[in-house]
Amino acid sequence: MKKEYKILIIEPSDIVTTGIINGVSLSNLNVTYNSVYSLQEALDIPHHRKFDVILTNPVVFNNCLNAFNKFLSRFAQTSIIGLITIYYDRDICSRFADCIYLNDSKQVYINIIQKHLLDKKNNNANNNNEQTSLSERERDVLKLLVVGKSNKEIAHKLNISIHTVVSHRKNITQKLGIKSTAAMAIYAVANNIIDINDNLNLT
């Protein structure tokens, strides 16, 4: 049986919602929809209900950044695509995983939705492998990080660019689920990556 994808559409206009649903039905994905008219209805959806992709018109946030942030954090696990029917603040648009504009052709918006539905599946598969352990390089970065070295010093020492250091740091945080250097130091000692007698940066 084909995998069933779930899409949530938050859009005040029935015409737009119906249009999107008709368009996506042309792709050969098996998709079910939930559509609501307002942010509140979306937030009222029970937490155990998961979606693969959410399409939302930014108009439902009513220019309220707080509501927008709350929404993003509530659905942090889901790809959120902006449904842009009139001009919006670029900052808002840039925070969506992608944007669909009212005058996009069928092919364009179907591609965008499809990309995120399929992306998500791949990401999940990757995450499961990745989360088990740090790569050699990430361990090197971690070692230097927890003794208080700056990005620049780490880049110099490992002979890589600062940009690469930053991206390693990001991956470390993502894999370990910890953000502060002090907590990383504890992780590093517990996993014998460094010795407790090293000069640790515990702030």
């Binding site: 910890i178 502060s180 002090a182 517990a190 407790i196 515990l202």
Partner: protein, 231 residues
């Protein structure tokens, strides 16, 4: 705490709402309301204790439902003062009860579990506590007096106050607490410490829930209030 969607209103029976959500025991304490109020409504108890019903309902509902929408526009001077007193009382609860208890348990943890890294949790938490204390001091010495001076139309504390700093503190505090939970749940091997580790985690989760609402009160009530008056 579970999400309990029921909205508390002034006709709610105080004892019933507490039985449905025991976190409200702390809320009552911080408002100086005692338990044993029999069948009195929220309205009656608030009037008897000289507390704004409005403020009580905002804070109690926040504890019942994290998505509760706060209507702040109609808060008056006394009500803002009540909120500040409430926050001060909760600071006291952390500093005098919760933190000492967690510190003691973390100390015990490092005595029971000698695996590498565990002993470092103690200094991690002490550092965290220092940051929280600093934030509380900032609030009590700078932010709250500034807000109170705004209420009196005086503006002599402004020099040291910054909304940005205030918000950043909240993020840092939340981040470290998250990290500590993650270390204890995921990364540090358990050894001879089942009970003590569970006690620490229960305290941390409770603390987190409480601090989140604490920050929400500050971010969504006090800061908009300041921004509004400063305009």
């Amino acid at each position: 705490m579970n999400i309990k969607n029921e909205i508390i209103n002034k006709k709610s029976i105080l004892s019933e709402i507490v039985l449905k959500n025991y976190f409200l025991i702390l809320v009552l304490e911080r408002f100086g309301i005692e338990l044993g109020q029999q069948n009195k409504t929220v309205e009656t108890v608030c009037i008897e204790n000289n507390i704004s019903i409005n403020v009580f309902l905002i804070i109690a509902n926040l504890h019942n439902n994290t998505f509760y929408e706060i209507q702040t526009n109609q808060l008056n001077k006394t009500e803002i003062q009540t909120i500040i007193t409430y926050l001060k009382n909760s600071h006291q609860y952390y500093s005098e009860e919760i933190f000492p208890e967690i510190i003691e348990n973390i100390h015990l943890l490092s005595r029971k579990n000698k695996m590498p890294g565990v002993s470092m949790v103690e200094s991690f938490f002490n550092q965290y506590k220092k940051e929280v204390d600093r934030h509380f001091e900032y609030e009590e010495d700078i932010a709250f007096p500034y807000i109170l001076s705004l209420l009196d139309n005086k503006q002599n504390h402004k020099a040291n106050y910054s909304v940005k700093k205030y918000k950043e503190h909240h993020d840092d505090i939340e981040e470290k607490l998250d990290d500590l939970k993650r270390l204890l749940v995921q990364h540090l091997p358990q050894k001879n410490d089942r009970i003590i580790r569970r006690k620490i985690l229960f305290a941390l989760f409770g603390l987190e829930q409480d601090l989140r609402i604490h920050a929400k009160i500050e971010n969504d009530i006090l800061i908009p209030f300041i921004e509004n008056v400063e305009k």
